[in-house]
């Protein structure tokens, strides 16, 4: 479609078709990689030393960013909620409201987004540069499956470290929330924690863990499949890194809603 000024405007249906194709291809690649990984895990063909190395990279390397974002999210939420509820005389509900938000949504999402940004991008960059520098071809020549050698240890490491980071983020957020609630709305920590105990149930923690495990799976398989499908030269490394961050974060937010909607508290 040509406009009078000469600018070509793409047909929306063509664009939709193009992007749907990209999404389906990416989801297909990630799913195949997931199935291959599960096959290696069930066969016990694992490199635990590499998994420990990756766990160190994912977990310890992310402690600072996940901690700081979790803490400041707790500060901000408590600042918003405690003053409003205290004004209505509902200061005994502050802890419950903040805790629910942190445990069900903010904790896993914050950790997921930060790990996607830090670890997912690094993995896509590393794997795509290995493709460009023919290291992946070298593995294939040596009959070493790149999925077994590179993806399986990363997945195992992420399965352990993501829930740990998510819980860590949640506790720091709660700590920050307690501090701000007392400092800005004069709500004692005991009152805050009583409210948390009365509101939060076991299902909330299960939802939290399920979300962090699903986010770990999304980050690893989308980042690794984007990295390993890179072609061309050095500029493809940059493209792969950007694509990994954009796609994993987008999918994390979509899947977060789906899990929330399917959780027992909302499904009925």
């Amino acid at each position: 479609m040509d406009r009078p000024n000469g600018i070509t405007v793409a047909n929306p249906l063509t664009l939709l078709d193009k992007y749907l194709g990209i999404v389906l291809q990416l989801v297909g690649q990630a799913t195949i990689m997931f199935l291959q990984t599960m096959r290696y895990i069930f066969r016990g063909e694992l490199s635990l030393s590499e998994a420990f190395r990756q766990a160190n990279m994912i977990g310890l390397g992310s402690l600072y960013v996940v901690g700081v974002t979790g803490l400041f999210t707790g500060f901000a939420m408590s600042l918003q909620i405690s003053k409003e509820l205290a004004a209505f005389g509902a200061d005994t509900a502050v802890g419950g409201v903040v805790a629910l938000a942190l445990i069900r949504e903010i904790g896993p999402i914050t950790a997921g987004v930060m790990v996607a940004g830090r670890v997912g991008s690094a993995m896509a960059a590393e794997l795509s540069s290995m493709v460009v520098s023919e290291q992946i071809d070298a593995l294939k020549i040596m009959r070493v499956d790149p999925v077994q050698f590179l993806v399986v240890p990363r997945f195992l490491a992420a399965l352990v470290m993501m829930p740990a980071l998510s819980i860590y983020s949640m506790f720091l957020g709660l700590g920050g929330a307690i501090f701000i609630a007392q400092a800005k709305a004069n709500i004692p920590p005991e009152t805050f924690l009583d409210s948390v105990k009365q509101t939060v149930v076991g299902t909330d923690f299960i939802t939290h863990i399920i979300k962090s495990l699903v986010f770990a799976t999304i980050i690893i398989f989308f980042s690794c499949s984007i990295g390993l499908s890179a072609r061309g030269g050095a500029e493809d490394v940059g493209h792969a890194t950007t694509r990994a961050v954009v796609w994993t974060m987008t999918i994390i937010f979509i899947v977060n809603y789906i899990i929330t909607a399917l959780s027992p508290l909302h499904a009925s």
Binding site: E134, I141, M142
Partner: protein, 254 residues
Amino acid sequence: MTSQPIPPSSLPSFSKASEPMIKVEGLRKSFNGREVLKGISFEVFPGEMLAIIGPSGCGKSTLLKLITGLLEPDAGKITLNSEQIGLVFQGSALLNSLTVRENLALALRERKLPKREQDKAIMEDLTLVGLADYIDSFPTQLSGGQQKRTSFARAIVNDPQIILYDEPTTGLDPVMSTVIEDYMIELEKQLHAAGIVVTHQFSTWTRTAHRAILLNQGVVVWEGKPHEALNSTNPYIIQFAKATREGPMLAGKV
């Protein structure tokens, strides 16, 4: 700039009496509708080193990737008489997260050797390429020439019957190029493997190969012994060997 080719007698001899170790028949490959290889055929015998030469983009590296199975041909047939293949990559392609020892051990993984035997094989190979002292170094701690030599060691650690070199001297200084070429000749003597070297470096194909084929735009335009190249009447090999602009290659494109 060209150097004098070494006399063919400096290379180990080979015989065509046995079955070819590599047989390529009518190989075709296209990318995005552009045919890169247009029906290539050749044979390589045990102990023979074949040079595949030609200008950049003529399909040399694609040919190697087809032989190693990294790419699938559109048409044609590749017969390899051995599953033990060693490949020396242009950019070394060592795994940066692993030490030199671990890089070589990865190549030995399928053989499931006891650790003592594995270490012995690795040390022998590294001694051959003069890198025994660097066994626990990471690739990023090595120079370009050392990385290339480690790549050699990795390619031969399994005692391959077929050894392939992708631009082994590209990007190296002339002295290091000569060192690498000497290693290639030494390996020909020790392994007696069938080899293919893809290169456009004059000294590399004239010093290390028994025979050469010149590719241009996906077809073989010359085949012969390296020391015959400069005396040939074939305009393609004359232009390529003398590195001049005058000739049929790139005519009208420069």
